[in-house]
Each structure stands twice: as C-alpha cells, then as structure tokens.
Symmetry: C2
Subunit: 263 residues, 2 copies
Amino acid sequence: MLTISQLAAYAGVTVRAVRHYHKIGLLPEPGRDRSGYRTYDAAAVVRLIRIRTLADAGVPLARVQELLDAGPAEFADGVQEIDKHLRAEIRRLQDTRSRLARLATGEHLALPQSVVDYLDRLRGLGVGERYIELERDAWIMIAAQVPHLIDSVIAKKHEELDDPDMVRLYGFFTGELDWPADDPRIVEVADVLERLMIRAVEAGAAGGDGFDDQFVALMDSTMLESAPGAELVLAILKERGWRGWTRIERVPADRLGTELPPP
Amino acid sequence: MLTISQLAAYAGVTVRAVRHYHKIGLLPEPGRDRSGYRTYDAAAVVRLIRIRTLADAGVPLARVQELLDAGPAEFADGVQEIDKHLRAEIRRLQDTRSRLARLATGEHLALPQSVVDYLDRLRGLGVGERYIELERDAWIMIAAQVPHLIDSVIAKKHEELDDPDMVRLYGFFTGELDWPADDPRIVEVADVLERLMIRAVEAGAAGGDGFDDQFVALMDSTMLESAPGAELVLAILKERGWRGWTRIERVPADRLGTELPPP
DNA sequence: ATGGAGGGTTGACCCAGCGTCAAGGTCAAG
DNA sequence: CTTGACCTTGACGCTGGGTCAACCCTCCAT
C-alpha cells in the first residue's frame, strides 16, 4: 500500500493535487490506516496517471471525470477530440512563435501585408520616417474600422502612385513636417494636388468611387487628423473651387464657401 | 478615433479584456468623448496587439508590462526566453499527444518499459490475464515505492525465467486462481518452488542479493497481498524448512516454526 | 522516554485572467 | 419616441490548484 506522497510522486503530481481530486470526486477516497493516513492501491495509481495524462492535454477536470467514467466508445471519441485540440494548440503556438519573432520589428503586426507593402513603397520614394509614421497610424485607424475595405483602398492608392505628380507630392514629405503657415511649399503642394484633382475628374472619378459616404468621411477625417498642415492645403484648394480629399468634387461657383461636413 | 469594441475586435480580444488591461495599468486609459466613451488612437492599437502577442505566448500580464516598458535589449532577451518556453511547450504537447495515444491501451503509462516487457514475456508463456493483472498491480506498487530499483529487479526476474522450473511454475497460473485449500496443485506448486529454492541456494544466493531488508520485506508483502493462495504455498514450504520468498533461506532445524516478520 | 525530523490531516484564504450578469446611460436610425 | 446596439461601472464566479496554519503520527537516535 502507498501513502499519498508516494502515490503523488510516482504519478508526477503534488500531494495537494491528489487531495484536490478527492475533494471534487475525481479520484475516489481510499481507505485509511489506523492512524488516519490514506492508503492507495494500484488501481489508484492507474487512475491518477490517466487523470494526469488527460489534464496535461488541457482537458478540464470535470470533462476528465466524464471520460474516465464513460464507456470505451465515448472515451475513444473524446480522446480523438482532445487530440484534435492538441494539434490545433501546437499549430497556434507555432504561429505565436512566428508572430513573436516579428514583435520587435516594425508595423507588421498591426497592419495587413498590403498596407505594409504600400508604406514600404513610400519609403522607397524617399518619404521621411516622420511622415511614414503618420500614414501608418492613419492606416491603422482605417484598417481597424473597415478591415474588409482596406485591401481595395490600398490598391487604389498604388494606382495613384503611378502618377508622377503623386510621386512629386509625396516628395515634399521628407524632413520636418511642421511648416509655418506662410511656407511657400504649401502653395506648391496645393498646385500639385490641383493638377492631380483635375486629372482625376477628367478620368471620370465623378461617376463614383465605389465607396459609401460614411467611408469617405472616415478617410477624410482620419487623414485630416493625422497630417499636420492638411487643413491649410485644403483651405487653399477650397478657394480655388475644390472640395473633398478622398472624393474629389468641383464646387459649382454659386456654392463656393460651403464647408466640408465636420469630420 | 476608435471605440473600445472596434479596438478590441481589430486586436482580436474581448472588450472585457481591454477593460481588464486598463484596470491593471497594462494599457493606459485613453481619453473620453463627451459621453464618457473611451476613444482610442493608433498607439493603443499597437500596444494592445503587442500585449496580445505576448499574452498568447503564455506570458503573465505582469511580465508583459515589464517587457513593454523595458529597453530594447532587455526586451530582446525576454523574447528569447519566451521563445525557449514556447519551444518547450510545443515539445511537451507533442509528448502529451503520444501519451494520449497510449491511454486506451494497456499498462504502458503506469509502468516502466522493462516491466511491460516482463509482463509480455509472461503472457508469451501462456499465463492468464487474471494473473497478469495481479502481477501488474504488484509491480505498480513496487515501482511506486522504489522506482530506482525496478529495472534491476526485473532483470533478475528475467534471469529466473530462464530456469524451466520457473516457467513450469508460471504455467500453473492460466485459469481461475481461487484454488481451494486442498487443491492438489498447491502441493505441486510447492514442489516446483522447492526445487527452485534448492537451486538458488546452491547457486550461492545465500551470499546476499544486493537488496536491503526493507526492500525484501516490501517485495514479500506486496506479492503476498497480490497473489491469492501464496500464503498456503508458503505454509507448506515452511513445514519443509524454507523461509522467505524474495530472499530464500534454509531454516536451521532448531528454529523451525519461527514466523516471517509480519508484512 | 524524549525530542526532533519528516511524514500525514483538515481548513481557509489567495492567485490569474478574464466570463458573466446587473443596472443603467448614449447614440443613430426609423 | 422607441428600439436596439453600444457604452459605463461594479460585483461575483470559475479552474486548478499554491500556500500557510495548526495539529497529529511514526520512526529514529539519543
């Protein structure tokens, strides 16, 4: 006959755990010797080892009890199920490992690959890290709100970058971003933007861009929040008869002065 | 700006978890809008995703906090450590899978391989499952109490099985085991055992078997508890001047009648 | 016989990491 | 104005034990 600590040591568990299993009725209370010590037999060893094997597999103790007290068919089914869980868990941990490896480096975890690629393209154009971070944060906000649209939006952005004027536009964002309000480059930026807008309108953007009003408002407000000076540029363009940002519109002369809806 | 559920959904956690992270100071409380709702920015998204990546790797939240607020060197060290843990955990789960596969089948989990092999050898000799189970339970008890000795004991048992008389002895245990006290086979068993004992003594077993008294007592009492009828056989042998079981002794004529120590 | 080590006994409280109500206040749409 | 989907705080529950605390048993050496 075994004492509780002999039993526990052989099965690789603590004495406390064995007593816990008694308390919840998972392992039957054995007989006691005349001094009150529990005395275990081989059946207890076998049952305890079965308990541990299942518990190590992550099975809740209540389920362990069901399984051990069930027929062989149900038991086999249960074990199948547990093994499936184990395989999934192993795959999850392997995935976690690869995510962990990317933890230190960059924005890869917070953004879909398409956006990461887009930001890398901007870097390739010489855009400064300061501005890249602003863009990144804006894209994080957009991706968080409309994850299903993000890939198609980024695809449009890539198309836009095929236009040399767009490349020129991004070329402004290489150094410090806090331009004073009278910085002459602001007018240059507005000029480039106006050319882009004209071309966009000519290309038929007026017809509709496939996005609904809410999403356009989201894009506009996010970009306005993220890019310092964007308001200044928008003000200049408004004087010239343009409205919008994500969705470009020529403002009819009689409506000049109408505000954008508040972000 | 994001609401808490947008943030949570994007990071793949529950709203409740985000609030929990606020409560323990892991994720800073963001600003509120005029109605008291929390409003999150991109930095919160990034931090929350980092938190989840580490937490998914099994890192306690307190440790996550330390890591995220530490310098890059300490962070890299910590990630190394976590990855080591992950690899170990994956190996542990794979091991659990193979143990799980053996759960339904046999005694493999409760006994070392050497004993399993020994029991298989007994089966090969035609010993009945009823008796095998008794042996198995006895070996479980012995292995639980003196795991470091089990392999050498089993090795001795294997040697003993090379003796044809020992094979003959086990040959008795094929069917029912509850022999009546006057079953003639009991005398036959005693005869075979006596021949074995004589040969053992001649072979020099008297010199000492390398086991201490406590262990011999353990073997004796375990086998006596497990095998019905063993006491009868021992009684017959005692009349013939033998004592012991695990350790065989010729009892000098003047001490005939001396009892074995109580188990 | 006695004292100390090293078992054993019960009981009660404590932990992470949230899940799950409960009991409301807010917001957008119809 | 209502409805339904959010948001807020707060409190309790859960698993699988760990960690005292306070005491009893047994064995061994002295």
